[in-house]
Symmetry: C2
Subunit: 203 residues, 2 copies
C-alpha cells in the first residue's frame, strides 16, 4: 500500500496529517503537480481526474478524494477517533469538516486558482471571481474566530478531521493563496498554534 503525494499541495497534506495522527506508517510517492506529472497517462490510469492524493492498494484498485482516504483509515484504525465517536457525533464532525471545506478550503483554493500563474494554462482564470472567493473566506474567518472563542477545537472539545481541514486551509491561505488570517483573529491564532504544535503538522 502506498500513497501518491505531492509535498507542496494542500489536499495531500490533509491525508498525511490524518495518517500521522493515526500513527500509521505509509510510503509516499511524489507526483510533481508543478510539472504536470499528474496529467501523464500513467497517473491518469490511477485517477482519471488527475488529482492527488491517491491511495494505491497494490491490487489494482485506487482510492482518490482526501476525505474518502481518511474514511478508510478511520475504519481500519479507529483509534484515536478523528471522525466522531457515535452516529450523532460523526454527523456533527462531518458537518464541521464540510463547513471548513466549503467555506474556507474551497474558496481559498479558488482564490489561488484564479490568480496564480500556475493555473494560467490549466483553467480559464477570472481574477475578479477569485477576489470574491478571497472575500468569502475572510468573512468566514470572522465567523470561525467567534466559534473558537467558545471552544478549543473546530467541532467542539476534541481534535478531529475538521481541525485538519481548517489547518491546511489556513496555512495554504497564508503561504500560497494570498488569503492571510485577519490580524485580529486571536481565537483562530490560539487554535492554530495548538494544532501547529502537534507532531502531525510536519507530516
Amino acid at each position: 500500500m502506498k500513497i501518491y503525494d505531492f509535498r507542496l499541495a494542500p489536499n495531500p497534506r490533509r491525508v498525511r496529517i490524518f495518517i500521522a495522527e493515526k500513527g500509521v506508517e505509509m510510503t509516499y510517492i511524489q507526483v510533481d503537480l508543478f510539472a504536470g506529472h499528474n496529467y501523464h497517462a500513467e497517473f491518469l490510469q490511477k485517477n482519471p481526474l488527475g488529482a492527488l492524493p491517491v491511495l494505491d492498494f497494490d491490487d489494482g484498485t485506487y482510492l482518490a478524494e482526501s476525505v474518502a482516504i481518511c474514511r478508510y483509515f478511520e475504519g481500519m484504525y479507529p483509534e484515536p477517533p478523528l471522525m466522531g465517536i457515535n452516529p450523532k457525533d460523526a454527523a456533527f464532525v462531518e458537518m464541521w469538516n464540510r463547513r471548513m471545506e466549503f467555506e474556507l478550503f474551497g474558496p481559498i483554493g479558488r482564490a489561488f486558482q484564479h490568480s496564480h500563474p500556475m493555473f494560467k494554462d490549466r483553467i480559464k482564470q477570472f481574477p475578479e471571481f477569485g477576489a470574491t472567493q478571497r472575500e468569502h473566506a475572510l468573512k468566514r474567518y470572522e465567523w470561525l474566530d467567534s466559534l473558537l472563542a467558545q471552544r478549543e477545537f473546530v467541532a467542539g472539545d476534541r481534535y478531529t478531521i475538521a481541525d485538519i481541514t481548517a489547518q491546511v486551509a489556513v496555512d495554504f491561505g497564508q503561504e500560497a493563496a494570498g488569503v492571510p488570517l485577519p490580524p485580529h483573529a486571536r481565537y483562530i491564532k490560539r487554535w492554530h498554534e495548538t494544532v501547529s504544535a502537534r507532531p502531525s503538522a510536519k507530516a
Copy 2:
C-alpha cells in the same frame, strides 16, 4: 425531530430521497429560499450560513450539511446501507459521492448561481465563469457515461448515496440550471430511468 426543507432546492432533495430510501418517517418544514426566508434571524439561529436542509433534534441542536444529515441516518438506520458495507467499501462510496458532488453537482450549481436572476442580488455573478462550469459538467457527463456503460450504479453494483447525488445533479441541471444531459449519453439515461423509477425519486 424535523427537517427544514424547501421543495424546489436540490440539496434538501438529496436528504429527502436518502430518508425515503431508509423508510424513515419525517416532518418537513418549508423555508422559502426564493423569498429569502433562510436569511431571517430566526432561521440563522439554526444555521448561521443560511443553507438548507437543517435537521432539528428538538433539543436545541441543529445539524446542517446534506451529507452530514445522511450520515446521521445511516448510523441510526443502517438498513439498507447507502454509504458502504465495510471500511473499504465505505471509502469507495465516499469517493464516488464526492466525485458526483465536486465534478457534477458543484459545477452545475455554480452554472446556475452565476446565470440565474435569483442570484443577481445575492452574489456577484460572472456569467462567463458560469459557462466554464457548465462546460466542466458536460465534460464529466462524458466520463460518467463511460463508467455507467460498465456497471449498474455510480459506485458499482449497489445503489448508494452517490446515485442520489448524481440523480439530483442531473435533474437540477436539466430542469433549472441549463445543463441538460448530452443527447448521446445513453448509459446515463439508462441509469437515470432506473433511479427515477424508485419511489424515493418523488420524495
